[in-house]
Every structure is written in structure tokens, then in C-alpha cells.
């Protein structure tokens, strides 16, 4: 039995896409076996280690610092941020633990956090990776107590008598229950329960401050007692709405932007029954028939990071200048560790507008072929002039991008006698229309055809 279509879909969604080299042995696997192998490969946990120093712990006094010292400090921070970004993009692009990284990316967006301290960002990211396929309740508690989140949502300032509601509000609105399942009063009461949750500025670790904690009676979601923060998290996860909320988001991430109520309910039942274990939930999704329905194939817009990681994987791209990858992220509207706000990146169609779509269609040829997309159709004088100017710029593009795809490896794994159309059907998830088929069926070498394939609107989807 040839399951290549299903397996290709599974890898497009649960990972960052399949390569020709992967398909040879896998096309005859059952879906069950493919899913098992996918989880097996993701048992490995590879924490990021790019940032070794917590710059905030350096003894210093802003008031007495010279301008040079301040500048140096900023440079050090920028260097750390770049190193962290680069390390994660490389891991996304090269790891065998695709599903774990894909889920880390999910939690990175779910627990969106944007702060200047890369050491804390790395710590949060490693927690998200460790528990990416583990237990959501554990993940939620650990994330809530990271210096990154305590700082980002102002819980450092949440004190008895003067509650700061920021964390309590986002916890319920964005991390667990979703809107409409709590009241403004619930926010105020639970904020009191989180007073005293803080980190120690001297060693940068979580440390509960009993003196700042309000141990009075609170009424939260119709329960009344002198709740602490852990109690609030427990009440929230005991509420099945949390399972529904997370499953809806996962459905939109893995299956379809438009949630199907029946499928989401099935997922939430599994998630809740399994006590918020993530792996059984995902296995349930990837083994469901509906996951492979025609309408769920090739209809999700890749996020910029998925787009770049997929391209890097497919062509084994090696970057000499890591800044380039960050520039691409910025151009396309998704810089890792810099979500626009606490709600994360909105995703889906919002990735696509006039500017970003054109950049997305141009970036693959920029990396793979010095900016050239061979054109075999009928060229007008204007086209000829454009192509000539592109050829002139080739050296500049190469100098700026400084990236090497491994074309030999890529081409070697394409089975002999594969037609252009077969290559396109393998590399693109949506069904192909006549325009695309006509374009790629024009005579030309495989490399030119492949560059055309990755420069299409279809390549934006998975």
C-alpha cells in the first residue's frame, strides 16, 4: 500500500515537511507506524544553550555607568538575542525531533513573551521544549513561575493591597479558559492569589515572597477559600473549558483554521480524560481519519518560521551569516522571541498581505539561486531588462545572503525518471492548477523547475 500522500501530509503538519530522502522507505509504512516513528524521533530533548550569562545579574549601577558602558551592555544584549534566535532556527531546521520542535513553537506562541533578557527567554523556551509533549498542567505551572513570564506580565509588582491584574487576566484569557468563561471579578480575586509570586533579582530564580502575599479569603469561579496561586491554576484546569480552549487552538494549528466542533469535542474529551497529557492527544489527532480529509490538506498558511525551517530542511541550507535569517524573519513578520504582544502572532491569513506575499515568493530564489527565477516563457523587452538586471546583481545577492544549499544531496535523492509534475506534486501540498502545471512543464533543467516550484503561492501552504 502506498500511503505517500498521507505521510507527506503528516510530515507537513506534525513537522516541517518531508524530504525526498525520507520518502523512499516511508511511503510503504502504515500511518500508525509513521506516527509511532514521529514520536520516537521526538523523545530526544535538546535544550538551547546559546546564552550562558544572565546579564541582569552583573553588578552595576545605571546612574554611575558611562555612555560607553551602557553601549557595551546593549551590544552584549543584542549579541545574546541574535545567538539565541540563530540557535533555535538552526535546531528547527536540522533536528530529527521535528514534532517536539513544532510543539515548542506552538507553546512559544501560546505563552507569548517578549522581554529583553535572553537568558530568561532561553529558560522559558527550554521549559516549553521539555514539556512540549508532556503534561499541560506541569507546563502551565512552570511557565507561570519563570522570571520571563513574571517579568513580562508584571507579577513582580503584584502585591498584597495593590494587586496588578496583568498576569491573572492573560492567564485566563489567553493561556487557559479563553474569553467569556470568567468575570472581571474573577480576575481581581485571582490576582490577589498570585501576589508574592516573584523571582529573586539577585540569582534570577523563582522565589515566593510570603510578605507580599495576600492570604485573605478569595472567591474565584464560585469557589471560596484563602486560595494561593497553585489553587487557582488547579481550579482553572479542573474546568473542562481549559481542555476545550487548548484543543481548539491545537486544531487550528495542526488541522484547519476553521475548527470543527465535533472533532474539537473529541479532542477535548481525550485531553481531559488523559489528565492533560499532550502526547496521547496528538496521537489521537494524527490517527483520526478526519485529519487526512481532503479539505484538511494543503490549506494552512505556513508561518514565516515554518516556511524558513521547511526550506532549510528541504535543501540542507548552510548559513555563514546568521543575521540573514533574522532579517528574513523580520521581513516576513515573525521574529522568534519577539511576538507582537501577549496574544502572540495571530497566524493564518494574517501572515499574508501584499508585501509579505511577494517577499515570501522571492526569498527561496534569493537563498537558492542568487535571486534568479529562470523564465522560459515568452519574455517582453521589459522582462528581458529585468532578468538582465537580476543577473547583474547575482554577486551582490550571494555576498549578502551567504548561504549554501546542498544541491547535490537534494538532486541525488530524487528518483530517476521523476517528471517535473511529480516533483511539483511532491513539494507542494495543495492540488495544482493548470497555470502551475504549464509553467513547470516547460523545458528546463530540474534545478530551474524546483526554484519555480518554491516560488509559487502554493508553496506558502502546508
Amino acid at each position: 500500500m502506498n500511503n505517500s500522500k498521507q505521510i507527506k501530509h503528516l510530515y507537513a503538519r506534525a513537522g516541517f515537511g518531508i524530504r525526498f530522502e525520507d520518502l523512499h522507505d516511508r511511503e510503504n509504512w502504515s500511518i500508525k507506524k509513521s506516527v509511532r516513528k514521529l514520536f520516537k524521533a521526538s523523545e530526544k530533548i535538546e535544550p538551547l544553550k546559546a546564552v550562558s550569562e544572565n546579564i541582569d545579574l552583573r553588578p552595576r549601577d545605571y546612574k554611575t555607568m558611562t555612555d560607553d558602558e551602557k553601549r557595551q551592555l546593549n551590544q552584549d544584549r543584542n549579541k545574546q538575542e541574535k545567538a539565541l534566535n540563530d540557535a533555535w532556527v538552526k535546531q528547527l531546521s536540522n533536528t530529527d525531533a521535528q514534532l517536539r520542535e513544532k510543539m515548542t513553537l506552538f507553546w512559544h506562541n501560546h505563552f507569548a513573551c517578549n522581554i529583553g533578557n535572553s537568558y530568561y527567554q532561553q529558560e522559558l523556551n527550554n521549559i516549553e521544549r521539555t514539556h512540549a509533549l508532556g503534561n499541560f498542567k506541569t507546563l502551565l505551572l512552570q511557565v507561570s513561575q519563570t522570571p520571563a513570564m513574571l517579568q513580562f506580565l508584571n507579577n513582580q509588582q503584584n502585591q498584597k493591597g495593590h494587586p496588578n491584574e496583568n498576569f491573572a487576566r492573560e492567564l485566563m484569557e489567553l493561556f487557559t479558559l479563553g474569553r467569556g468563561h470568567y468575570t472581571e471579578q474573577d480576575i481581581k480575586e485571582s490576582a490577589r492569589a498570585f501576589t508574592g509570586w516573584a523571582y529573586n533579582g539577585k540569582d534570577g530564580t523563582y522565589s515566593f515572597n510570603p510578605r507580599a502575599h495576600d492570604d485573605g479569603i478569595k472567591t474565584f469561579l464560585n469557589n471560596t477559600a484563602n486560595f494561593c496561586g497553585e489553587d487557582i491554576l488547579n481550579i482553572i484546569t479542573e474546568n473542562k473549558q481549559t481542555a476545550v480552549f487548548i484543543c481548539t487552538k491545537l486544531y487550528r494549528y495542526f488541522v484547519n483554521e476553521v475548527p470543527d466542533e465535533i472533532h474539537v469535542t473529541q479532542m477535548a474529551d481525550v485531553f481531559y480524560k488523559e489528565n492533560y497529557e499532550i502526547a496521547p492527544l496528538l496521537k489521537f489527532v494524527f490517527l483520526s481519519d478526519w485529519f487526512y480529509d481532503e479539505k484538511n490538506i494543503g490549506n494552512l498558511v505556513k508561518s514565516p518560521v515554518e516556511f524558513l525551517a521547511g526550506l532549510n530542511r528541504q535543501f540542507y541550507i548552510n548559513y555563514q551569516n546568521p543575521d540573514v535569517l533574522m532579517q528574513f524573519q523580520r521581513t516576513l513578520g515573525q521574529v522568534l522571541f519577539r511576538p507582537p504582544n501577549v496574544a502572540g502572532w495571530p497566524g493564518g491569513r494574517s501572515w499574508i498581505d501584499s508585501s509579505s506575499l511577494m517577499y515570501r515568493m522571492k526569498i527561496p530564489s534569493t537563498i537558492l539561486n542568487a535571486g534568479l527565477i529562470d523564465f522560459t516563457g515568452k519574455a517582453t523587452p521589459e522582462d528581458e531588462a529585468y532578468l538582465a538586471s537580476q543577473r547583474k546583481q547575482q554577486l551582490n545577492v550571494i555576498k549578502r545572503v551567504q548561504a549554501q544549499p546542498d544541491w547535490d544531496k537534494f538532486l541525488k535523492d530524487i528518483p530517476k525518471d521523476t517528471t517535473h509534475e511529480e516533483i511539483a506534486r511532491f513539494m507542494l501540498e495543495p492540488d495544482l492548477n493548470k497555470t502551475v502545471i504549464d509553467e513547470i512543464n516547460r523545458p528546463g533543467d530540474i534545478k530551474s523547475v524546483v526554484i519555480q516550484i518554491v516560488s509559487t503561492p502554493e508553496y506558502q501552504l502546508c
Binding site: E173, N341, R349, I352, D353, S354, S355, M358, M361, K434
Partner: protein, 401 residues
């Protein structure tokens, strides 16, 4: 409607039906029929700007009682009348105010306010009720209304890399352009041109692939036009070297080159001041005030101020009483600023906010923000507001036309 006009219009409509608007070659769109048209520039302050520390009710003692450590001291306030004055970081706007090019609408909000950033921003951008969820924005629906002034995808331009919900309609959407030349260059690729021109209608259905092709086609028709038109004009006025300053400078270029665009959208974030508000808000207000002042003066100089209206809003104001961390938490009603040469009531439009009668510690709104939208739609964009908003709003006496 005269019978002849009726026939003419039907012919146009049926023609438009066969060839979607975004496919029409640009040369076919008559030039010159919109000269001297009015522009609306929307500036969004994201994060919930604290209106009470922006336009300070310095004449009200309650303000100083509720804001022990973050109030703006009386001597620092740029007084406007005996009750309200500007934050000192907005000093650049004083001259604009004195010239009669600024008007401040106090206590703007909506019933049953929502204190979530995302929800409240959606409410402002879609123009919905607080319990109503709309997936299209108010400018997007203005584009959808297919009125005389809004036929082209470049009718609404967001000077940014991404497009806000406000700009998205069901059939039409605005275009996001940070750098017109860069966008234009990417559309010259012969391979892309083939994909655009040879596509079949099958590519244009409702799924994501259809959306991508449609976006690409709209980009082609707009990028060419925006680039060719806007490059004819160079902005000579000085602008502060900030992101907002550069965005408004681009808007000036677009307006002064005579682009057939009616709505421009820009935003400035960083107003979510839960902690250490004074410095953070001060910094953002200075960026805002300096850039807007430069923009208004530039337009005055080029003779375009009478054709331009600038509106500034934020998704909510902040709580009257400060919090323990020298900041403020999410609140409700807020002030809205209007700038332009055609303001009906210059200066302060209505009474200063009532700091005594509060709703859970927050200001009660006096003006529904949709009455402001209605005014802009009816009087400035020449479309009936009931076509765009869910019901008809009476509007305010804000502008002279």
C-alpha cells in the same frame, strides 16, 4: 435617479461583474475624477494610552488624589483651558492647537466596555458592539460598500508591513505598503507575472490558495500605480527620525503626489504602562506629538491640510486610580484627537471627563466612538454610515465640509 443614469450605472455594474475590479487594467481607470479628494489618516496608539496623563484634568483635585506618584505636576502641564492641559511631552502640539488645527473629544468609548487589549482593539477596529463579533473592519466595509470613492484596492493604505483588521472587508481589503519601491520591484519578476496573468478563475475560490492568488493580483495592480504616482513627489519638510515620523512622511508623499487613496492607517505601540508609566508614556507621547506636528505643518505648507483629517485613538484609556507600581491598569473611555484644517469646533470639543461618577473605578463614556466613525463616513468619505456600521449613528458636529 434619472433613467439615463440608471442605465449607465447598470452597464457599469454588469461590466464590473464580469471583470472583477482588481483585474481591470489601471489605464482604464479615468484619471482626474477624484482630484482634491479628502484624505483620512488614522493613527492608532496600541496598548491602551492613558488619556488622563495625555490630556491632564489638572483643574480637578480628584486627579491628584488618585495619582499620588504619577500625576503631571500643575506647573508642567501645557494648559489649554482652566480644566485641561497637555502632557509636556506633547509640547509640539501646542502650536497646532493654537492654530485651530486640533480638536480633542473627551470620554469616547462604548457601552459595556471590555478591558482586554485584543477584544477592545477588535471592537474599535470592527466598529462592533461589545458583545458582537465581526470579522471585518470598518474601513474594510467602507471598501466593500463599492461607493464612488472606494473602487480600488489602494483606496486604503496601511503604511506598515502587515494589514490591520480595520482594513479588511469581505470582498475588498486595503493594502499594506511600508516601502512602495521595494514592493514594486518584487512585482517585476517575469515568472510571477505569468502566474498572475495566466491564472484561471478556479484559483480564486474562498480557500487559502484563492486568497493568495487574489492578494497577488491586487498587489500587482496597486504596486505599479502607487510606485509610479508617488515617485513624482519629494517631501521637503523635516520629520523626526522615528518610525512614526517616517511613516507619516510616507503618507505625506502619497497625499501630495495625488494618489487616489482615501484612507491611510499607521500605528504606534508601547502604551501598555502597568509599571513605571511616566517615562515610558512620556517617550511614546513625544514620538507621537513631534511626528504629528511635523505632518500637520507639512500639509499646511503644501495646501493639503484642508483636504486631510487625522484621527488618533487607542483601544481604551486606563484606570483613574494608579496602581502600586507607578503605573495604571486597563480602563475604559478615552480621548480621541482630530487634526485638520476643517474642524468645526477647534480646541476642546466637550466637557472634561467626570472623575466622580465612575464605573468600577473607570470613566463612563459620553461619546460612542461609532458616532465619530459615522461623522467621518458621512461627511468625509461620502458614504452613508449605515452601510458600514451595524446601525445608523447620528454623528457629531466635528467637521465642516
Amino acid at each position: 435617479m434619472e433613467r439615463r443614469d440608471f442605465l449607465k450605472n447598470t452597464a457599469l455594474i454588469s461590466g464590473a461583474f464580469m471583470v472583477p475590479a482588481f483585474l481591470k487594467p489601471l489605464e482604464a481607470i479615468a484619471k482626474g475624477d477624484l482630484t482634491g479628494h479628502k484624505n483620512l489618516v488614522i493613527i492608532q496608539l496600541s496598548g491602551g494610552n492613558d488619556g488622563l496623563n495625555t490630556v491632564i484634568p489638572y483643574g480637578n483635585d480628584i486627579y491628584y488624589q488618585k495619582r499620588k506618584t504619577i500625576a503631571i505636576n500643575k506647573p508642567d502641564v501645557i494648559t489649554l483651558n482652566d480644566m485641561q492641559g497637555l502632557n509636556p511631552n506633547l509640547s509640539a502640539l501646542k502650536e497646532i492647537y493654537d492654530q485651530g488645527w486640533m480638536s480633542i473629544v473627551n470620554s469616547v468609548g462604548y457601552p459595556n466596555p471590555d478591558r482586554s487589549h485584543f477584544r477592545s482593539m477588535d471592537i474599535w477596529q470592527t466598529g462592533s458592539d461589545s458583545n458582537q463579533f465581526l470579522s471585518t473592519g470598518w474601513i474594510g466595509r467602507y471598501l466593500d460598500s463599492n461607493c464612488q470613492t472606494c473602487k480600488n484596492p489602494y483606496t486604503a493604505i496601511e503604511v506598515d508591513d502587515t494589514l490591520s483588521l480595520a482594513m479588511k472587508g469581505t470582498k475588498m481589503k486595503g493594502i499594506a505598503v511600508q516601502d512602495p519601491n521595494k514592493l514594486f520591484q518584487t512585482t517585476r519578476e517575469p515568472f510571477f507575472k505569468d502566474l498572475v496573468h495566466d491564472h484561471g478563475d478556479a484559483n480564486l475560490n474562498e480557500d487559502n490558495l484563492g486568497y493568495l492568488y487574489k492578494t497577488m493580483i491586487e498587489t500587482y495592480s496597486s504596486a505599479d500605480y502607487i510606485q509610479k504616482t508617488s515617485k513624482t513627489y519629494n517631501v521637503t519638510a523635516q520629520y523626526p527620525n522615528t518610525a512614526l515620523g517616517n511613516q507619516l512622511k510616507n503618507v505625506s508623499k502619497f497625499i501630495n503626489s495625488g494618489l487616489d487613496t482615501r484612507v491611510y492607517y499607521v500605528s504606534l505601540s508601547g502604551f501598555d504602562t502597568h509599571v513605571g508609566q511616566q517615562n515610558q508614556q512620556g517617550r511614546q507621547l513625544k514620538i507621537y506629538g513631534d511626528a504629528v506636528a511635523a505632518f500637520v505643518k507639512d500639509l499646511k505648507g503644501t495646501g493639503k491640510l484642508d483636504d486631510t483629517l487625522v484621527m488618533t485613538f487607542s483601544e481604551f484609556g486606563r484606570r483613574v486610580e494608579q496602581n502600586a507600581s507607578n503605573g495604571t491598569d486597563h480602563g475604559t473611555a478615552n480621548n480621541v484627537f482630530m487634526f485638520g484644517g476643517k474642524l468645526k469646533k477647534q480646541g476642546i470639543f466637550n466637557d472634561a471627563p467626570d472623575l466622580t461618577t465612575l464605573d468600577n473605578g473607570d470613566l463612563k463614556y459620553q461619546v460612542d466612538f461609532r458616532d465619530i466613525y459615522a461623522t467621518l463616513l458621512d461627511k468625509w468619505l461620502d458614504v452613508s454610515n449605515s452601510q458600514v456600521l451595524s446601525k445608523n449613528f447620528a454623528g457629531l458636529d466635528l467637521i465642516t465640509v
